[in-house]
């Protein structure tokens, strides 16, 4: 009588699986673009004395205050510095003004407060912050909200 043959060792063929995994790997390597990972940011630190239950409020002078009033329902803004309208009502003018303040000896660590009416577009607030950062002010903060029409009468 013929003896049954010994069962052969079962070895799964991994080659097709490796092929598929390689394709997936290359897809994700190329798909996860580095352009997406990097992003532009403007950094700030919020005022620690803001919000209810905050500690003792400390006034630090001199303080530069920038206020943005809405003009034309979000079309533009009127820029105020220390409650006075800026002569050159644009953000390059604001940048030059702040740069002059820095050259005149303003401490870059001193707080610079940006306030805006509630209806002002975010892009204008970012431009004001951008001008401050470019002029060398490192401590940019945000003021509590101004109701529409409250700045400059």
């Amino acid at each position: 009588m013929k003896r049954p043959e010994a069962a052969g060792e079962f070895v799964p063929n991994l080659a097709p699986m490796v092929d598929v995994i390689m394709v997936l790997l290359i897809f994700f390597l190329l798909g996860t673009s580095l352009d997406l990972v990097s992003q532009g940011v403007l950094q700030t630190e919020l005022d620690p004395s803001s919000g209810p239950g905050a500690g003792v409020r400390v006034e630090i002078n001199p303080l530069i205050r920038i206020a943005l009033a809405d003009v034309g329902g979000g079309e533009s803004v009127r820029i105020y510095v220390m409650e006075e309208p800026l002569a050159e009502n644009d953000f390059e003018g604001l940048y030059r003004f702040l740069l002059d303040r820095r050259r005149a000896g303003a401490d870059p660590a001193n707080p610079l407060v940006v306030g805006a009416e509630t209806t002002v577009r975010w892009k204008f607030v970012v431009k004001a912050m951008d001008a401050a950062v470019r002029a060398g002010f490192a401590n940019v903060q945000f003021a509590v909200s101004f109701r529409a029409g409250s700045i400059g009468g």
Partner: protein, 160 residues
């Protein structure tokens, strides 16, 4: 005469390679999802002083995208992307919900001794009052480290 032994058949062990590749695929799957979710399409403002940073340099963070709601200018939606310890969570919140979410997230970060950062990605045309909701919530949650996403450079649509 003795016959020479039959040469042994060489088989390549692919299992460790498959393991490593599986790990890489899972990593890229998660990374791609996180990147895609954090970069929810929104028309960011432009800023000359904006610094290009790698997402990994932002550390432990919660990303809030502020976009205009369908209802018009007066309303906004808040898309929050966060890592809950196991997976990427994406939620669309109303203004009233931002506060409680950030407080809970800040409390968890404090328990885990992490420094939490809030990344605000606001559409350039949203009203300041909508972004202010996030700023106020950050203040209440004691999150002091806030960064604003912006395109680096000057706005090509606006005259110089």
């Amino acid at each position: 005469m003795k016959r020479p032994p039959k040469p042994a058949r060489m088989t390549l062990n692919l299992a460790p390679m498959v393991d490593v590749m599986m790990c890489l695929i899972i990593f890229f799957l998660l990374a791609a999802k996180m990147v895609a979710a954090e970069h929810y399409p929104v028309d960011l403002p432009w800023a000359i002083a904006a610094k290009n940073v790698e997402a990994s340099d932002l550390g432990t963070r919660v990303t809030i995208t502020v976009r205009r709601a369908q209802g018009g200018d007066d309303q906004a939606e808040y898309v929050v992307v966060d890592w809950d310890g196991e997976r990427v969570v994406e939620r669309v919140l109303q203004p009233g919900e931002v506060n409680s979410l950030l407080q809970a997230r800040a409390a968890r970060a404090a328990r885990e001794s992490q420094k939490l950062r809030c990344v605000v990605r606001a559409d350039r045309m949203v009203m300041y009052k909508h972004v202010e909701v996030v700023l106020r919530a950050c203040g209440l949650a004691q999150i002091r480290d806030v960064v604003f996403s912006a395109n680096a450079g000057t706005d090509p649509k606006e005259p110089a």
